[in-house]
């Protein structure tokens, strides 16, 4: 009996993690999308387009990596879009005055991490529902960024290393994609293999049980908020590099894209369930849809309609599959 369970364990876990849950549905959706689009428009498979898709995915994936952790703990952060814009402006301003990439990045991280910390404290200490708390933060950041700068912060430092952040390559792969992959990998490893990751799931699954087990659940949530914030810091700097300016108007609706990707990836808003591979697939599906609509020359307004349908559909299919499993 014992040996039987032991030997079946690894197979189940790999299968379970990669294919078992909603990822299977998503994988199929992604494959069908890719095949259908490239049949209709062969340019879809061009190297240039794949790189363009990946670069678009990179920004979302970076923030979604943190957001996945956060949603796994059963909290959410709606302020990431507003923070993204603010971070870019602050980073650029510090770069302009110091001409040091390191200091600019540091300022961006400090700010974005600080926003995460603030959200986390409001949620864990003041016990404000995270949906409401981060709507509040979102408003404060949207207003705050214009108090900070009324115009786009221009690139006066002309640091090549900064430009490379968005437009550079390592080999044939754009630098933002490399950064995203690294962050994704760290987050995925953390969630799957470390005590920290295990605790994050546990907090989402049953916070009181975790607390009774002697684990400081509030710190875990705080951690997830701060990590999400730091991810926004990275993404904000890449975005400002790509746009060559700190844009206070950037990031509108970004939070919804990120959350949609995470949910699409099968992470439960109730916490305790989800995986970064799912998020990766979710990001890819959303961005392939976005890209495909342009490549096919369809009306760009479909870029809102299709993801809406896909999110509902994917969740529904997941529920149906779960029900079938129970029976």
């Amino acid at each position: 009996m014992s040996e039987l369970t032991q030997s079946s364990a690894p197979r189940r876990s790999v299968g379970g993690q990669l294919l078992g849950s909603s990822q299977l549905v998503l994988g199929i959706i992604l494959a069908v999308l890719c095949i259908a689009i490239s049949l209709a428009a062969p340019q879809f498979y061009s190297e240039a387009n794949i790189i363009a898709i990946l670069r678009q995915c990179a920004l979302v994936l970076i923030v979604a990596s943190g957001m996945t952790m956060l949603i796994i703990t059963a909290e959410v952060d709606l302020s990431v879009g507003a923070s993204l814009a603010f971070v870019g402006c602050i980073g650029m301003a510090v770069l302009n005055s110091t001409h040091s990439l390191a200091l600019g990045m540091l300022a961006a991280f400090a700010f974005a991490g600080g926003v995460g910390l603030f959200n986390g404290l409001v949620v864990t200490r003041l016990k404000v529902n995270s949906l409401i708390a981060t709507i509040g933060t979102m408003m404060m950041l949207q207003g705050g960024v214009y108090l900070f700068t009324r115009e786009a912060v221009q690139n006066h430092h002309r640091l090549i290393s900064f430009t490379d952040l968005g437009a550079g390559y390592i080999g044939a792969i754009p630098l933002p994609v490399v950064i995203a992959v690294v962050i994704f990998a760290i987050a995925a490893v953390t969630l799957r293999f470390t005590t920290l990751g295990r605790y994050l799931y546990a907090v989402g699954a049953n916070e009181r049980a975790v607390r009774l087990s002697g684990v400081r659940s509030e710190r875990l949530k705080l951690f997830a908020f701060v990590v999400t914030g730091l991810c926004v810091g990275v993404a904000g700097m890449i975005l400002s590099s790509l746009m060559n300016a700190g844009q206070p108007t950037a990031g509108r609706g970004f939070e919804l894209t990120v959350i949609a990707a995470v949910i699409l990836g099968g992470t439960s808003l109730l916490g305790g369930r989800g995986s970064l591979f799912g998020t990766l697939l979710g990001v890819l599906v959303l961005k392939v849809i976005d890209n495909g609509i342009i490549i096919l020359g369809w009306n760009q307004d479909l870029q809102m309609v299709v993801p809406g349908v896909v999110i509902i559909l994917a969740t529904y299919l997941d529920i149906i599959r779960n029900r079938a499993n129970v029976r």
């Binding site: 799931y201 975790v210 009774l212 087990s213």
Partner: protein, 510 residues
Amino acid sequence: MSVDFLYPGEGAAVDTGVPAIEMRGIDKRFPGVVALDNVDLTLEPGKIHALMGENGAGKSTLIKIMAGVYGKDAGTIRMRGRELDIRSPRDSLKEGIKVVFQEIALISEFTVAENIFLEGYPTGKGGSIDWKKIRADSAALFNRIGFNVDPAARTGSLPVSQQQMVEIARALAHEARVVVMDEPTSSLTPNEISLPFTVIRRLAALGIAVLYVSHKLDEVFEIADTVTVLRDGRHVSTRPIGEHTNDTLIQDMIGRRIESLFPRKRGAPGSKVALSVQGLSTAKKLKDVSFEANAGEVLGFFGLMGAGRTELAKAVVGFDPIISGTISVDGRHLMPHDTHTGVRLGIGLLTEDRKSEGLMGELPVYQNASLASLGAFARMGFIDKARERKAVQDYVDRFRIKTPSLFQQIKNLSGGNQQKVLISRWLMRGLKVIVVDEPTRGIDVGAKSEIFALIDRLAGEGLAVVMMTSEMPELLGLADRVAVMCEGRLTAIMSRDEATQEKILNAAIG
């Protein structure tokens, strides 16, 4: 529409001979457990029928099937010869089956009066709720049965015992053919017990078939006409109460000698104080509670519902805040007062509320087991999963935890196996003091004795076990000393030899 119904002397003509409800061959399975196996039950109008059995015998499952909470896997339910198709509580209520559950089924934000009429508001012209009538009728109803509570009070603000009485009173507010009372006295003090009896007798006088679910012998002898006993999900006997004696009933319920349920293997408790609690008070409930528990000892806490056992359990381990008092584990103060410190010092809680405070239902068995001791399997923050699973597997084997695999979601295990996993959680961590709160709640009888054996073993291994329970046999069977609580105070501590049911109950009433 129906409050007039309860006025005396207006009992409907009783159709004796025709059963009010007839259940035949009821089967019900849950993952890993057969809850009911071919159970029959017939209720007569105007008669009080007791349903007896130990925890886990299948009483709750059977009445939940009557109430439409669960669907049955096999069998038929007939009412006056007509087969019923009960798929939801709504269907059940429509057929005139009214179940008063032991767990409080009231909306705590609503007033008492509103909860009385939850299943059907009296409406006036145009279908609007007639609040005046609701208030007046519930006041009249309370008057009639001698229940002294303000109908306008917010239900959630009442003590648990009064909430249970509201539940019972509710049975009179609606027309019914069959009323089921699930352990209606579980949280009542002895001087409150007359209320459910008044209600039940009134119901019977009105020609309603009453099913009285209990495991308290004296109550059953006092009120029932007929008794059906279930054991391990099977029908054991149905006899008129007159054919039973205390002994025959116990024989039917337990089916074996009571001692075998509590196999005591451990030696005498040690003399080293493992847990010392001095002057503990909380804002909500506890007042100046002081006690000590020695290593290797089972200290049993008894109290009626609302006495503060669970509150004490949660405060002692650092989960709930305290306003004064000190707690020390093995001589070290629990400061700051949180569970992180508590677990570090070696005190942990096996909760009574597994679902919301113990289990991570969506997560697999092995993750549930290792939650408190992850650090032991980690190197540089990385979990050595092989080692972790092997350790969990050891416990699964030792405690005979029935699970298809370590990767099974724990919500799919039976209550007993879930409890064993949660005990493993603490054993893997290695504690000095474990507080167990109602350790056998929702666990079937077979697994019960295993849990008792585990608790016995824990104490045998030198842990101090603080056990909160409302089950007298459990208390007397397991504890070395008995502490009794009443309304947040500790009213008595006695040794195993001094403790008798009467003494304990007297102390519990305060």
